[in-house]
Amino acid sequence: MIVETQIVRFDSLPLDCGVILAPVDVAYETYGELNAAGSNAILLLHAFSGDAHAAGISHDGGKPGWWDNMVGPGKAFDTTKYFVICSNVLGGCKGTTGPASINPETGRPYGMSFPVISISDMVRLQKKLVNHLGISRLLAVAGGSMGGMQVLEWAVAYPESVACVIPIATTSRHSAQQIAFNEVGRQAIMADPDWCEGDYYDKKPPARGLSVARMVGHITYMSDDSMREKFGRRFRTQEPLPDFSSVFEVESYLRYRGSQFVDRFDANSYLYITKAMDLFDITNGHGSLPVALERTQSRFLVISFTSDWLYPTYQSLEIVSALRGRNRDVAFCELQSNYGHDAFLVDVGEQTDLIRGFLSSTYRERVARAS
């Protein structure tokens, strides 16, 4: 399946901070066919560093999508049955308007003059895209990590627009620990002299800061077990010497992932998006989690993973408990995996069974109700 990212431009988008962003581009991909009733559309929401390219092979780079193991014919999000949409988030750097985009007022990249964005701004923009595609009610909205936060925001902000939601390995709001890791990443970028207060687009980007930020991120995505299994104490060099020229495999891996990230991600997007995650709190304006979730009308499938210490199961259980307290339709399962937070991207066998069954029963009900 060769796919191509498309871009649609909207005149403006009002943001939570009061600024009206204009114009706004959204990069998106679609897979499968929308049925005549428009009832089989699923919106996927990517995690922090993801993009619109969720599935298939990109026509330019030949790269598989970030959830290619989950999206496609016969997979969890079966594209022979469903019409699947994925877009790059607001503030991103993969085609959707973000700090690296040109500010029409100055003719130069926004940089740090880009307005502060929120998870709900991202979702508001996704709603515009979904409307633009002619879909009034989605069958499902699904995503992990930051994608899961957007899933929750969808369920609360547009309760009538989505039949079922699948928040995976996520939280209703960041803990101090999650904010702390993001802050280390931001400080690494800002401490890099090449960052230049965010005004580096015609110069050298803050590659060292961004790659250190990514290294920290990768540690939090893995688990003690998965790192032991993948690297142990093995050395990259054959004869370890008692000096800094010896490199553990784990060090080499992190450096590689860090430097690779610099080529595909914008440092200012890193700052803006992590800030949006940290500031996200689904209870804002509602007082409490049960009150916020009481607004929802969708079926929920909440999934967490045993070894995920970045978004631990207790955070999913808070969501599940609040939903049950308001007698909402919620299924919950903690899946066994050693892969840490990355599990929702890499350890997808059992996750596939859950999502396939959950989607098809929701779809069956929806078709039955419509007929």
């Binding site: 408990s321 049950r324 007698n327 919620v330 399962c333 903690e334 069974d353 859950l354 396939r356 029963s361």
Partner: protein, 209 residues
């Protein structure tokens, strides 16, 4: 208390569900109601009820692999402990709460039963009858913890931690002032009409506060 219900058709769904208590429970539940199955296993009963009776079906199950299969079946199941699993639900959230073949396995049966009657109008409880004659004989002849078709486990690896009889349950219902709307006694696929405490392998009770 009503006697054995002659109008109940005997196992119509046994082929699907494979257990005679399920066959009875599936008939006791009224269509288009809200049903919670506590200790729902792989969700077979809930799935059947959702499909054939249009019920709003929910479940609680502790074993992860069973939860996975239930969700994969399309049933909304929550992975959690029964002893605490009901606490989140508001009062009268359901029309029926089902506890099938699980009462003898929970740590605090009375607390669970009270919680069931808090979150639901009616509780449907099915349990193996420790008063069955085979159990009594096994214990009498061997002088050891009874092992029968109904209670096949060795004492040291049995999931059962409470051993109750049909009379025990009736006594508790009376002590707690619960109304027993129906009581059905089963032996294999057939209903038992005489000496249920001796002859029934399984008791199925519908109780109300």
């Amino acid at each position: 208390m009503s006697a054995v219900s002659a109008e109940l058709k005997l196992p119509s769904v046994r082929d699907v569900l494979g257990r005679s208590d399920y066959a009875i429970i599936s008939q006791l539940v009224e269509p288009n109601t809200r049903v919670l199955d506590v200790g729902c296993g792989e969700g077979e009963l809930l799935h059947w009820l959702a499909l054939h009776k249009g019920v709003d079906a929910r479940g609680v199950e502790i074993v992860g692999s069973k939860v996975q299969r239930a969700i994969a079946r399309g049933v909304s199941v929550y992975q959690g402990d029964i002893d605490q699993g009901l606490a989140d639900y508001p009062d009268d959230a359901f029309d029926y709460v089902i506890l099938s073949q699980t009462l003898q396995e929970v740590r605090k049966p009375l607390k669970v039963l009270k919680e069931m009657l808090r979150v639901s109008q009616r509780a449907i409880v099915a349990f193996p009858n420790f008063g069955h004659w085979t159990v009594r004989l096994s214990h009498l002849w061997s002088g050891r913890a009874p092992q029968t078709k109904l209670f096949p486990h060795d004492w040291f690896d049995s999931p059962n931690i409470h051993f109750l009889t049909i009379h025990d349950f009736e006594a508790l219902a009376s002590r707690e002032h619960w109304t027993v709307e129906r009581a059905i006694y089963l032996s294999g696929d057939t209903s038992v009409r005489i000496f249920p405490n001796l002859m029934a392998e399984v008791g199925v009770f519908v109780v109300r506060k």
